[in-house]
């Protein structure tokens, strides 16, 4: 009698274990006291399930505020792109940008004429003859009166030095070509001269560059190197 007897405690344990094993976990969640009552249980439940399946797993594990930040991320990105576009548009309205592009286009013409002309004319002779073209532009510029305020001898001295350095750069380039070393490598290395300008401008002229421009300079260096090979 002692071993086969069933007490009321046994009956309660059996009943409670059966209940927990048969009840689904989802039903437990739905029956949470904190969950708000659903006006249209079928429709709202589908929406909740759809939202849960569409969210990434990492976002589902995060609490409420972090999930809100994730949803707001595209709008921050849009704002950054809009700021970038407006900054570029602002630069497109400035004169210096278009003068820089005009300068770039002129040097495109310089590169093409150098390529065609140097098929017959040696580089050093090409440099000498092309200086007459340089003089022609100077004569065209001299025809227009300079402002009376241009009395700064320091400014003229700096301009003179820049012209001498320009000529020295050209002579050095042709000297490098004469060494017989790989011409494409010489061109690639010499095309990186703006890097020196940037360092000098930041160091001596105290120019400040923003983050975008620094990244742009890195891309420019990569582009100059790749395109000159």
């Amino acid at each position: 009698m002692g071993t086969g007897s069933i007490t009321s405690e046994h009956v309660w344990r059996e009943a409670s274990s059966e209940a927990t094993s048969s009840v689904d976990q989802r039903d437990v969640v739905v029956c949470e006291p904190s969950a708000p009552p659903l006006k249209h249980p079928d429709i709202d439940q589908d929406r909740i399930l759809a939202a849960q399946t569409s969210r990434p797993a990492a976002a589902m594990t995060q609490p409420g505020p972090a999930t809100d930040l994730n949803l707001a991320a595209p709008s921050i990105f849009d704002a950054q792109v809009a700021a970038l576009v407006s900054a570029v548009r602002r630069s497109l309205k400035t004169k210096w940008f278009w003068y820089a592009i005009a300068s770039s286009l002129c040097w495109t013409g310089w590169a093409f004429t150098a390529k065609i002309g140097s098929k017959e004319i040696p580089p050093a002779t090409m440099e000498f003859i092309s200086s007459f073209g340089f003089v022609l532009v100077s004569l065209g510029v001299l025809r227009r009166k300079s402002p009376a305020s241009d009395k700064s001898s320091a400014g003229k001295c700096f301009a003179l030095i820049s012209g001498i350095l320009l000529a020295l750069g050209g002579i050095s380039l042709y000297g490098a070509y004469r060494t017989g070393y790989n011409a494409s490598m010489i061109t690639a290395v010499t095309s990186l001269y703006p890097v020196v300008t940037v360092f000098c401008a930041v160091g001596f002229l105290r120019e400040k560059l923003n983050k975008m421009q620094v990244v742009g300079l890195l891309f420019a260096v990569a582009a100059m190197f790749i395109l000159s090979l």
Binding site: A87, S91, L92, T94, K95, W96, F97, Y99, A100, S103, S104, L105, C106, T108, A111, F112, T113, A114, G117, E120, I121, A124, T125, E127, F128, I129, S131, G133, F134, V135, L136, V137, S138, R144, S149, D150, G155, K156, A159, L160, S162, G163, I164, L166, A167, L168, I171, S191, T197, A201, E207, Q213, V215, G216, F219, A220, A223, I226, L227, S228
Partner: protein, 128 residues
Amino acid sequence: MSVDRVDVRTAFVWAAAGFMLLQAAVMPAVSGLNYSSKSLLCAVVNGICNGLGILFLLAAMRNGGKASIVESLAALYPLFVVMLSPTLLRERLSSFHLVGIGCAVLAAVLLSVDSPASSQRAPGSMKV
């Protein structure tokens, strides 16, 4: 530093004077008349393009452009050369060139992102 003190035209003329000072060093022993008129014309146009390029560069700096940005933008001219060479020189572009073009375009966009203060027009800007 020059265009901060004098007008673009004055700066250019003095730069041209400095440039011509050293041309004697590369003066050829052979007469220039030994070459075809097409090549000679190319050489003179080459000098004109170079001169105009420097003139516009000085003008960009005079009009509020930073030397570091203007110089880097202007130095992207191989972009135009590579893009025009299939048409003008009948050269073929490689995928390597396309990467370079992409980098150059991206660089030009990012370099042109300038603060409003620095892009203001400088006094006494040049009229070309």
